[in-house]
Structure formats: C-alpha cells, structure tokens
C-alpha cells in the first residue's frame, strides 16, 4: 500500500447530507463523532463542505424535490470519493416506499458504494459502513 493510499484511507473527511430521512440516522451519524464512538480515531472529520469531503454520507430516500441538491453535492466532491447510503430508507426507500414524493433509494440518483441497513442505523453499523467504504477506496486505488 503506497503512502498516498494509506493517507487517503487514514484521513477520510465526511460530508453528511440529510436527503429526506426522519433524522434518526442523522443524529446517529452525529453520535458517531461524540465521545462514545469518536470516529476521529480513524481521522474522520465532519466537514460541512463538499469541496473538502471524501465520503458522502446520505441519510433518507431521494425525493423529487432535493435529488438535484444531492447530485450537485456529489459533483462538487473531488475524486477519489465514496458514497455511503446510511439507513434502510437511503438504501431502498424503506418505510416510505409508498409515499408519493419518494423516488426510492439514493442509488436512483447518484452511484452508491456502500449500503448500511438499519432503521435507524446504529453508530456501530455506520462505523462498519465507513470502514467498508474505505476498503473499497483502497481497493480501487490499488487496482
């Protein structure tokens, strides 16, 4: 593993976007930053700005109103980047599957690398998801 790859894997800065979730996963993502889970151990910092971010954490399904926002944010992130869909509804739409304004999972709108199930996804699952995303990042880089 080259030094650059290692640095990339060791320093994922994340951007969180709440697509149209119920807030459950959002607060669990925030909980990941707090003392009990402290993802800064892995070098993860919560950036509010897509231009600085490496990982996009999306909670909630894509809806017809804000999918453009999601696409814009995705486009503004510089490569290499990964997208993690956090929570059941970000994966497939989940409990909102029959609400009329919902398009389904966010993979309908942007490419998704890792799906984290759970409603709301537990911090442990989110950490697992990010770790999985980093594995993918490393794998992609080494190919």
């Amino acid at each position: 593993m080259g030094l650059l790859t290692k640095a990339r894997v060791k320093s994922p800065w994340l951007l969180h976007f709440c697509s149209s979730s119920c807030n459950g996963c959002d607060i669990e993502i925030l909980a990941c930053l707090t003392p009990y889970y402290d993802v800064e151990r892995f070098g993860i910092l919560h950036m509010g700005n897509p231009k600085h971010a490496d990982i996009l954490l999306v909670t909630g399904p894509a809806n017809r109103r804000n999918y453009k926002v999601l696409q814009n944010l995705y486009a503004q992130m510089p490569d290499p980047k990964v997208v993690v869909a956090v929570g059941t509804c970000a994966c497939t739409g989940g409990v909102f599957h029959n609400c009329y304004n919902i398009m389904g999972g966010i993979d309908k709108v942007i490419p998704v690398d890792v799906y984290v199930p759970g409603c709301a996804a537990r911090p442990e699952a989110i950490i697992d998801g990010v770790v999985l995303a980093l594995k993918k990042l490393r794998g992609e880089l080494e190919e």
Partner: protein, 358 residues
C-alpha cells in the same frame, strides 16, 4: 451599501436537515430572510391512507426520528379516541416513561447542537455524552436507541421488569452526575450568555399571535404545554410546565435545559408509581369516525387528527407539527440580527424539518 445574498441551506453544517433560508446581509447584519421549505416532504399523510392503520404506527414514528415515540404515542391515542379504547394504566405510565426519555434525548441533542451553533464544541461533546446514557436506557428498555417502536394501538409492546427498573435507576443516577455540571455551564457561563442573552427576542404578545408552541412560547413567558391536558399519565403525575420570562434565546435554552431535569424527575416518578397490570388491550376492529388529539413533543404541541370509515385504512390523517408553528417566529427574530447569531436564533426554536414537511 454592499449586500450579500446567499442561501443558508439546504445542505449546511449548522442545519442538520435541509431547509433553505435566503439571507441578505449588509456587512454582518441580516436585513432580509426568505425561508424556502419543502425539501423533506415525503407524503407521509397520504402514505398513511395507503397502509393498514396498525402499520401506520411505524410510519408515524418515522415522521421524526428524534421525537419518534411521541409521534407514535399521539397516533395511537388519536386512534384509541376514535375507537373508544381504554388503555390500561401501566401502559399509560410506560408511555410517559418513553415519552420523557425521548424528550430528554431530544433536549440534550439540541443543547449540544446549540452549543455547536455558538462554537463551543466541547460542550456539544459533553451534552451528547450525557445523551448516550439516555439512549442506553432507551435501548435497554425498548430495544432501540432512538426509534423505540414500543407503542401500539391499545397499549405498549414492551414491559419493564424489576431488573430493568433497577438498572434504569442506576443509569439515571449516573446521568444526574454527568448533567449537573453541564446544566451549570449553560446557566452561568459568561461567553454563552454573551451569545444568547437578548438575541432573537420574541416578545410575549408576538409569540402568542404567531401561535408559537413548546419551549419557544414557554421561553416567552406563556405556561402553554399540552401535557397540562393530562393525557397518558401526566394528569396523575402532578405536571407543572417550565416557563422562562426572558423571551430570548437564553430563555428558550434554559427552558430546555430545565426540562431535562423535569423529565428526569418525571421518569423517576413513573418508576416509583408504575402500576401493575396489563400493558395493552387487544384491538380487533377498525377505526370509525373522527378524533383529534394534542400531545407535547420536545419541540412543542403536536396535533393528530384522524378519520376512519370502518375499513382498515384511514380516510384521512392530519398531523400538525410544532416546528411548523414555530418557523414563522424566525421571520420576526432573524431580520436585524447579526450573521453570527443566525445559527443561534435559528436553532433556538429547534426546527425539525422532518416533522414540518412530513
């Protein structure tokens, strides 16, 4: 004079949820605010008409993940009212237990975000650290950290055993130790006061005219709380609302900080007085007719209305959420403030966009 017009949101680190405020600033002073909502709209009310009414509990829980239990509870109560079901007393007490747990975690979460809003990151960490204890209690008793999912039409799904009650009491004691210094910081810290005192004034009469609810109106000196109706077991617990007279962000912050203590006491009271007996009654038939119910969420009063025609699907479910009532107050408070106060004032009403837009 140079003006800066820019969008504040939908994606913005201060706002965890998508909402847009189009701000116009002159230097550091905000002169114009135009809110733009609708990013979170999912169509839950319509979705509820498509599901069997018992499944709607799970959907209503996910109107908002922070006050999810109270949504579920309010939904169940409105259905029970429509169907004329009497809920057993133990279930009513347990509902108060989880509802107050939700309130505690919601307020702590908000206090943390608020601290982050005025740039005190370590206080954010402390609040969320204390909150983890509340979440542990929630997970221990309901099986999930935030979406308790314990309420069903006719009662609750889970019971507390003596062992659990003992553990909960221990954890609550730990919580008290952790929260006391945090509370004192919020109450007395000078830099926090300088950021919140006199910021975002919502005068008493204006608060009433705009129909603000919850801590927003209680911070403006109105004793207005749906729990005073005495639904669930509140009537038997001697509930008194927390009221602050300051009308500013500091007052609203203190209402929430003190409500954490209030919820803590209510939970202890519930554990002391928990009556024995069944936790739910079987519900067989379908709702017919209409009913309305008020409940108090961490953010304020939520109103549920339902109408059924005897079929398994509701004909109409209408939810009026507290943040929807509170958002107009922003338009009074924001113009004329400084840009640095925008997060403080915006957060001081604790906007929950997921609730507002459903």
């Amino acid at each position: 004079m140079a003006r800066v017009t820019f969008p504040f949101g939908p994606q913005h680190p201060v706002l965890p949820e998508p909402v847009q405020l189009i701000l116009t600033c002159e230097d550091e002073k905000v002169v114009e605010v135009k809110p733009r909502i609708g990013y979170m709209h999912r169509g839950i009310e319509k979705g509820c008409e498509l599901n069997p009414y018992k499944h709607n509990v799970f959907l209503c829980e996910r109107i908002c993940g922070i006050c999810s239990f109270i949504h579920a509870e309010a939904y169940c109560e409105v259905i029970e009212k429509a169907m004329g079901i009497e809920v057993p007393p133990r279930a009513r007490y347990l509902r108060v237990f989880w509802a107050e747990l939700s309130r505690m975690h919601s307020h702590l979460l908000w206090l943390g975000l608020f601290a982050d809003g005025f740039g005190l990151e370590s206080l954010f960490m402390q609040c969320w650290r204390a909150r983890e204890l509340v979440l542990d209690v929630s997970e221990l008793t309901s099986g999930h950290r935030i979406i308790q999912s314990t309420c069903v039409v006719g009662g609750v799904r889970k019971d507390l055993d003596a062992e659990q009650i003992r553990t909960v009491r221990k954890m609550l004691k730990q919580f008290k130790e952790l929260y006391t210094p945090i509370f004192q910081v919020f109450q007395h810290d000078r830099t926090i006061k300088s950021r919140t005192w006199g910021k975002g004034i919502l005068p008493k009469d204006v608060a009433w005219q705009l129909g603000a609810v919850g801590p927003t109106i209680r911070g403006s000196g109105w004793a207005f709380d749906a729990r005073m109706d005495g639904y669930a077991a509140y009537g038997e617990l001697g509930f008194e609302p927390v009221v602050e007279e300051g009308c500013d962000s500091y007052a609203r912050m203190m209402v929430r900080a003190r409500e954490v203590w209030q919820s803590w006491e209510l939970i202890n009271l519930v554990l002391d007085r928990l009556p024995a007996g069944e936790i739910n009654v079987p519900v067989e038939d379908n709702p017919k007719g209409e009913a309305i119910h008020r409940a108090e969420q961490p953010r304020g009063e939520v109103i549920y209305y339902c109408r059924g025609d005897g079929s398994p699907n509701l004909k109409r479910l209408k939810v009026r959420t507290p943040s929807f009532a509170n958002l107009p107050t922003l338009l009074v408070m924001l113009p004329g403030c400084e840009l640095a106060d925008v997060p403080v004032i915006t957060l001081s009403i604790d906007p929950c966009i997921a609730c507002t837009e459903r």
